[in-house]
Symmetry: C2
Subunit: 344 residues, 2 copies
């Protein structure tokens, strides 16, 4: 049974517990060598719980994400992990797109962690005071809540990214440009829709309202939304899909229906994927550095932790860029969506 305490070590060496404690905190004490040996011999490990109780610190930072199997969030976590340092650890909470789990998790977190890095499910569901009374440093990543300005955040330039995507499709000659968007209640969902509309407006392009399909950032959602677009009276010639999972769904839908990309329809996604080049055709996307977002969020958190509660919130924005591959092309005159496959 490994219930050896600091007292056991002290007795074994013949000094007081205070001395052992001081040795552990790096002070120079008398019998350093004997203490070290005793610790190894007895296999003593300081109790984290007791330390927490005394110091009020846990050395743990929580990361709350909606879906860890989304490569984007996995990269965020990896980035955060890389910046966490030796003296702290990461507690992961996967809320699985469930608001209940998110709330429960948050309340459980109190006292177990020193701070929370989180991508909230939606912007408005949490009551504004919820986080304020939380009493822990918070850094938002990728998404914020309504009163998000009060806390530090690391976001992407979603509006710009969506605008670049839209402008790019316009520059290829498209005007029937649809978008498969995320929930408008989320930061990226809302902002990317904004960028899309902004891009269309500045080119004075009018689109039917059903060209904007609000979906849910899931693959199944992307699949359904794409099917819906294909079945409309005036199918679009190009589609901007607002995240990686939905892009995969949309591509599946196109494949199942035998619609060829980019001959019959152009596709541009948001968020790069490891395998984007392996797809047929290679996928054109708006890319950003997820790992960087994660590490920046962690750095911000550590700064807050070290500087104390007085530090003002800081907002960081990571850049986006167009990665041109093969899934977009100029529209063809009078193209028909359900025509037979064309040659390459």
């Amino acid at each position: 049974m490994s219930t050896v305490t600091i007292t056991d070590v002290a007795k074994h060496v013949g000094v007081s517990v205070a001395t052992i404690s001081r040795y552990l905190s790096g002070f120079t004490v008398r019998n350093q060598e004997q203490i070290r040996e005793a610790i190894i011999e007895l296999n003593y490990r300081p109790s984290a719980a007791a330390r927490n109780l005394k110091s009020g610190r846990t050395g743990i930072i929580a990361i709350v994400v909606p879906d860890i199997t989304n490569p984007f969030f996995a990269s965020i976590v990896e980035g955060a992990e890389s910046a966490v340092g030796d003296d702290r650890m990461i507690l992961l909470v996967n809320t699985g797109d469930s608001r209940g789990r998110e709330e429960k998790a948050l309340s459980q977190l109190f006292g177990r962690v020193d701070g929370v890095i989180m991508a909230p499910l939606t912007e408005d569901e949490q009551s504004p005071s919820f986080f304020s009374q939380f009493g822990l440093p918070i850094v938002f990543v990728d998404r914020v809540t309504k009163d998000g300005e009060r806390f530090s955040s690391v976001l992407t330039d979603n509006v710009k990214g969506a605008e670049i995507a839209t402008d790019y499709l316009i520059s290829l000659g498209h005007s029937k440009i649809a978008m498969i968007g995320g929930p408008l209640s989320t930061t990226p969902g809302k902002r990317r829709a904004d960028g899309y509309h902004k891009g269309l407006r500045s080119a004075a392009i009018d689109i039917p309202t059903y060209y904007f399909a609000e979906s849910d950032f899931s693959e199944a959602g992307g699949y359904a939304a794409m099917c819906q677009l294909l079945e409309s009276d005036q199918p679009p010639t190009a589609v901007f899909v607002a995240n990686n999972l939905m892009t995969m769904g949309a591509l599946h839908a196109l494949r199942d229906r035998g619609v060829s990309v980019p001959d019959q329809i152009s596709i541009i996604g948001f968020d790069d994927l490891e395998f984007a080049e392996l797809i047929n055709p290679p996928l054109t996307v708006i890319a950003r550095d997820a790992r960087l977002q994660g590490s920046q969020a962690m750095e911000l958190m550590i700064k807050h932790l070290n500087d104390g509660a007085s530090t003002p919130p800081q907002h960081s924005m990571v850049d986006v860029q167009l990665v041109e591959r093969g899934s977009c092309a100029a529209p063809r005159e009078s193209q028909k969506i359900r025509s037979n496959k064309t040659d390459r």
Copy 2:
């Protein structure tokens, strides 16, 4: 400052701290209603640290994986998360394929968590006694250490999976079958190599030794290994790649060199990928349920936690299956690897 303790609540209601404590643990006490109100009014949250110290339990289970951005491990984590229950949480440690981080993490974990679910980096690097003296329940997932029989584990039938892959290639008529394997120091690396050799042996197929390329489960490693195979005197007509990341690397290599799949070379991977059908050609793989592995591991852990330390270790094995898509075909006579592209 949210430093309200159980004493504050007790004073506010006019009872002793013991009563509040009992109320919190579900006993019936006198002024239940007032206590509940006081807790809400004061925004009291029990200190997790103090509870841990008293009870020796943390309510946290650690999951240690080599690389969270690998979709396979992300799914394991998700599966575990889904089975963790309401009263516990998950602490994620991403060791990033670094043995140093793994060791440090493990030693830090003691006292912070009630148990550890882990995919160890290699089978033999940890001294056999390391985990025994760890004093915490351990469940291995996907990989084990040398003395792994002493702890519960959830593994895949790696030998069978690799054998199925090899047999499949043989049944298509291949005999020049290469393998890009993982490190032989890891469980899946070793076992999949075993299955590959077993398959070849039972078909009495002899291969040059360089047909087995030991790599490192990374995309870059897969890329390099594939290049090396292509440059050999007798390039293989089929390759079994031992994990998802290396498969992606191998496909990238083939794409960069203009080698067409499956016309010039057949590829079969281990572990399915969300986008396997979207690749050109759709990728044939050996698949298994990663989520299930994660949830089984967590269930095993919870069982150990509830039953006490006396429970004997339990070993579980999840099944594998062949998912036939388009990346494997019969070999063509006298095919030349570096020939020009062929028509479809």
